[in-house]
C-alpha cells in the first residue's frame, strides 16, 4: 500500500528560481533565504519519496482566461518547464507517475471531486521553484512528480474548506493505491503578499504565523478562513495559501512539525516553509 510520509509547505516565488539559475544565491539579498533552506534540504536528502504530489497554481502560463479549471491533475509521463515570458527555466524535466495519477483521478471522481485531467502540461515556477528549493540543482529530480493545479487566480476560487477536503480525499486515494510506494505532498504559494495595485508589497507576519501554527495544530481553523479575509489581511495573492490546506488535508490529524522557516522579503512576498511528518 502507498503511504504519505510527509507534507511540505513552501512559497514558490519565481525570483528564487531566477537567483539559482543565474548563480546569485551568495549575494547579500539572497544569502539569508538560502541559509534557511539548508535544514529543509538536509531533511529532503534523507526523506526522498517515490512520488511527490505538488499542489501549485498556474500563473497565466498553461491556462488563461480562455480555459481555466478549478482542479487539474497531470497524468502525463513527463512535464516540461514552461516559457513564462523570459524563456523556460533550465531545470530538468519532471518525470510523471501516470499509475498513481490515474488512480488519484479515479478515486477522487468516485469521492465526488470532479477533476480535470491534463495529459500534457507545461509547468511554471509554481511547480519548478519548490523542486529547486527542496533538491537544489541536480541533473535530474530524485522523485517522480504529479502536478496538481488549483485555480487561485480567476475567481470564483474553490473555498479554503474545499481545498482541505480535497486533501483529505487525496489521503484516502493514496491509502488505497495497491503498490508499496512512498508519497510526499507539497502545498505551495503564499504566504502573505500582494503584487498588484496601490497596496502592492503588503505583508502580514501575524496572519502568517497564526496560519502556520494552525497548520500543525488546528487545520480546520485554516479551512474556515473566508476568501475575503485572505485578500484583506494577507494580500490579494496571499490567497494562494489555500493550496497549503490541500497538503494538510492529505496528512493525518496529528503531525509532527519538523521545520519551519519564515523570511521577509523575497521580491514582494513573505516567504514561508514548513515540513510536517505524518504520524503512524
Amino acid at each position: 500500500m502507498a503511504k504519505i510520509i510527509a507534507g511540505m509547505g513552501t512559497s514558490h516565488v519565481p525570483g528564487v528560481g531566477a537567483a539559482m539559475d543565474n548563480g546569485k544565491t551568495d549575494e547579500a539579498y539572497w544569502q539569508p533565504l538560502f541559509a534557511g533552506f539548508q535544514p529543509l534540504r538536509d531533511w529532503h536528502k534523507d526523506n526522498v519519496p517515490d512520488v511527490n504530489i505538488i499542489v501549485f497554481n498556474d500563473h497565466a502560463t498553461s491556462y488563461s482566461l480562455d480555459n481555466y479549471s478549478t482542479f487539474t491533475i497531470g497524468v502525463g509521463e513527463e512535464f516540461i518547464p514552461a516559457d513564462e515570458g523570459w524563456g523556460p527555466r533550465k531545470v530538468p524535466n519532471l518525470k510523471g507517475h501516470p499509475e498513481l495519477a490515474w488512480h488519484l483521478v479515479e478515486s477522487l471522481m468516485a469521492d465526488e471531486f470532479d477533476m480535470a485531467v491534463a495529459g500534457s502540461l507545461e509547468v511554471d515556477h509554481g511547480c519548478t521553484v519548490p523542486l529547486s528549493i527542496a533538491y537544489d540543482q541536480p541533473d535530474e529530480w530524485p522523485t517522480s512528480v504529479i502536478p496538481l493545479c488549483v485555480n487561485v487566480i480567476q475567481h470564483p476560487l474553490p473555498t479554503a474548506m474545499r481545498c482541505y477536503k480535497l486533501g483529505q480525499a487525496i489521503g484516502r486515494a493514496v491509502a488505497s493505491f495497491p503498490d508499496d510506494i512512498t508519497v510526499g505532498i507539497w502545498g505551495t504559494g503564499g504566504l502573505s503578499h500582494q503584487l498588484g495595485g496601490e497596496r502592492a508589497g503588503v505583508v502580514n507576519p501575524e496572519f502568517d504565523k497564526t496560519f502556520l501554527d494552525n497548520l500543525t495544530a488546528d487545520p480546520l481553523a485554516n479551512a474556515k478562513i473566508p476568501h475575503t479575509d485572505f485578500i484583506r489581511d494577507a494580500g490579494c495573492e496571499g490567497i494562494e495559501m489555500i493550496m497549503w490546506n490541500v497538503m494538510r488535508g492529505a496528512l493525518n490529524d496529528k503531525v509532527n512539525e519538523i521545520y519551519r522557516f519564515y523570511h521577509i522579503p523575497v521580491s514582494a512576498t513573505a516567504y514561508g516553509a514548513i515540513i510536517l511528518e505524518n504520524t503512524d
Partner: protein, 131 residues
C-alpha cells in the same frame, strides 16, 4: 453591477467576472508574450502588433506607455501584466513600485520590502488608507 465584499479593500484588483469581461482581450494579448515569436513580433512593431487585438485605444496606450496601474484599471491582471515587464527585461519590483501610491522607484520599493514590507495596519479598509 453586483458588488463583492472585498470591494472595500484598498488598492486591490481581484480577477473576478467584472475584471474578466473588461480585460479579456487585454489579458489575452499579454498572454501571447509567453511565446518567443510573439515577443519578437511585438518588439519589432508594438503598435502594429497591438492592432491585431480587440483592445480599446486607452488599453493600447497604457501598454505602449507601460502604465501598469492604468492597465489594472482597464482590466489587466497582475500575473498577465508580469509578461510585459518581463518582456522589457526589468525586475518585477519596477512594476510593483510604479503601481504603488505614493509611487515608488525600484530602489524605494526594495527598501520598503527589506524593512519588513508594506504594513497591513491602515491598509485593510478603503476608509482607513490613502490608497
Amino acid at each position: 453591477m453586483t458588488t463583492r465584499d472585498y470591494d472595500d479593500v484598498p488598492g486591490t484588483y481581484v480577477l473576478d467576472s467584472r475584471t474578466y469581461r473588461r480585460g479579456y482581450h487585454l489579458n489575452m494579448f499579454l498572454m501571447t508574450l509567453n511565446k518567443a515569436e510573439c515577443r519578437e513580433e511585438f518588439s519589432q512593431d508594438e503598435a502594429g502588433y497591438l492592432a491585431k487585438f480587440k483592445l480599446s485605444d486607452e488599453q493600447k496606450q497604457a501598454v505602449l506607455d507601460r502604465e501598469y496601474l492604468s492597465l489594472l484599471h482597464l482590466g489587466a491582471n497582475v500575473y498577465y501584466a508580469f509578461k510585459l515587464v518581463s518582456h522589457d527585461r526589468k525586475p518585477p519590483q519596477v512594476m510593483y513600485g510604479q503601481m504603488s501610491r505614493p509611487e515608488l522607484s525600484f530602489e524605494e520599493f526594495q527598501k520598503m520590502m527589506l524593512s519588513g514590507g508594506r504594513p497591513i495596519e491602515g491598509n485593510r479598509y478603503k476608509d482607513e488608507s490613502n490608497g
